[in-house]
């Protein structure tokens, strides 16, 4: 129940800070852009677009969201409230996931390029993973510049490499990479969909455990001590 209240509150904050307006503009722009793409390229371009923006938005925006909470010291009050670390993380992941999935599905439905259910599945799982990574980085840094620098390696490994795998063959084990599995689900499915989902779930569980530990440490660090 409290987690639901946190999710709705986070969605309200994101709305007030203009996330929804921003992504309404982006969505219109992307749909317009896709109209200009030749039909034989559309499927790949849609997958790259959805994967690298709405699905990955948690990695970009979590820094701004958490830094804002840090700068307004609201994390201090949350740390001395009954909110559990897991509830805090879940609310952040779900609220950003909501807008990411919404945008991703609108783009996918407009482009009509593949299996919508698999695309939806890929966007949700990728969004959760990116948001968890965003939180892990955001709780450890002190400025937006630090966040941008810290996310660069993740962006290269998690977005640039999976996109390359759409054009070059890196071997069969490449599906163990979460980004590769996600982009292959988003593209509308092929063989090994179950493997892709399992791979993503494995990485999400691992990221959740690291994220939980990082947020717990960050909450306790508000007491002025790093454990």
């Amino acid at each position: 129940m409290r987690a639901l209240k946190l999710i709705t509150s986070d969605i309200r904050f994101q709305y007030k800070y203009g996330f929804y307006l921003l992504y309404a503009v982006f969505t219109v722009f992307y749909i317009f852009l896709l109209r200009l793409i030749p039909e034989e390229w559309k499927k790949t371009v849609v997958a790259v677009l959805i994967y690298s923006d709405p699905a990955a938005m948690g990695l970009f925006f979590m820094g701004a969201i958490i830094l804002l909470e840090k700068s307004q010291r609201v994390l201090d009050s949350i740390a001395v409230s009954p909110v559990k670390v897991g509830e805090y993380i879940a609310a952040k992941v779900a609220s950003l996931g909501f807008i990411g999935v919404l945008v991703g599905v609108i783009i996918a439905m407009t482009a009509k390029t593949g299996n919508l259910l698999l695309t939806l599945c890929g966007v949700i799982l990728a969004s959760v993973l990116f948001s968890l990574l965003g939180i892990i980085i955001a709780v450890k840094i002190k400025s937006l510049n630090q966040f941008v620098i810290a996310t660069v390696p993740f962006l290269l490994i998690l977005t640039a490499f999976p996109v390359l795998t759409l054009f070059y063959d890196f071997g069969e084990y490449v599906v163990l990479h979460p980004g590769v599995s996600a982009i292959r689900l988003i593209i509308g499915g092929e063989d090994n969909n179950a493997v892709h989902i399992l791979v993503l779930l494995f990485w999400i569980i691992l990221a959740w455990m690291i994220c939980h530990s990082a947020v717990k440490k960050a909450f306790l660090a508000l007491g002025g001590v790093k454990l």
């Binding site: 409230s81 009954p82 007491g223």
Partner: protein, 282 residues
């Protein structure tokens, strides 16, 4: 309500809080007084469960703080020295949001806003508030879930006298309701007026612990100040109250009826703090 038994804590290898023991009864206002860096805030962080790796025992309610669960915070309200509020939300939305984090029934936001004179600003964004307005909102945010124990860190800091008076009246009202209040401050006037007992904290140790009145009186530093005319001009003299009988000048002035004014002069808690600890507060 709170029992601290022989706790120690350190940020480094050097002890910061050392062998501290005290207890606070239900409905008591207990003050932590000390200069910056004395260990007051660290002690508050231990009691609010933000620092868990202390040694000794710190029990708040029925909970050993180092073993606290999240439900521990259902009955604790914390007013930090600096506002912790969402600036894009209105005052009312902030109270509603933080109130929604608790399972117990929350107080009426309008009543709280009115209590601190913010009833006409409830729908205004906090980002548009002055520093004093944010402090007042932050204070009532700590009360929203009707806590049994209230931790207040410099609650009147940055407030004008009228608003400081309002806040102090609310703190005394909370005490009447049975709320236990821990007040961290270096404002001796607030401590003297509000606290049932105070602990002087310096270098991570309690140097004295008693009621403000007893601390003041126990040092026997109450003075008698009197004025009189001598050689055509007004003069002032003083003696310790307990040495009144030995002051020959005063005795002579009383006999001859030449005293102009006479009054007792108590030291402030600040004077006693300096006398006991050898340190100034500010």
């Amino acid at each position: 309500m709170i029992k601290v038994d022989n706790i120690s804590f350190s940020y480094t290898s050097k002890p910061f809080i050392e062998n501290m023991s005290f207890s606070v009864a239900k409905g008591e206002i207990f003050g932590f007084l000390g200069p910056s860096g004395a260990g007051k805030s660290t002690l508050q962080k231990i009691l609010t469960g933000l620092i868990l790796n202390y040694t000794g025992s710190a029990t708040v309610g029925d909970t050993e703080v180092k073993h606290r669960r999240n439900s521990f915070y259902e009955n604790i309200g914390v007013d930090f020295e600096f506002p912790s509020l969402y600036e894009k939300l209105s005052a009312r939305q902030n109270l509603e949001f933080f109130g929604s984090l608790y399972t117990k029934a929350i107080r009426k936001t309008d009543t709280l806003l009115e209590a601190v004179g913010l009833h006409n600003d409830g729908n205004k964004k906090v980002g548009e508030f002055s520093k004093g307005m944010k402090s007042r909102l932050n204070f009532i945010k700590a009360l929203i879930h009707n806590p049994d124990i209230l931790f207040l860190d410099e609650p009147t800091s940055g407030l004008d006298p009228a608003n400081a008076r309002t806040m102090k009246n609310i703190i005394l009202e909370e005490k009447r309701r049975g709320t236990t209040v821990i007040l961290t401050t270096h404002n001796m006037q607030d401590a003297t007026e509000l606290c049932d007992r105070v602990a002087f904290i310096v270098d991570g140790k309690i140097k004295a612990l008693d009621s403000p009145h007893r601390l003041i009186m126990s040092k026997g530093a109450v003075k008698l100040v009197y004025s009189y005319i001598e050689n055509g001009s007004e003069r002032t003299s003083e003696c310790f109250l307990k040495e009144t009988a030995q002051d020959k000048k005063l005795g002579e002035l009383i006999k001859t009826g030449k005293i102009l004014t006479i009054h007792s002069c108590e030291p402030t808690l600040s004077d006693i703090f300096m006398q006991v600890t050898g340190r100034e507060l500010e």
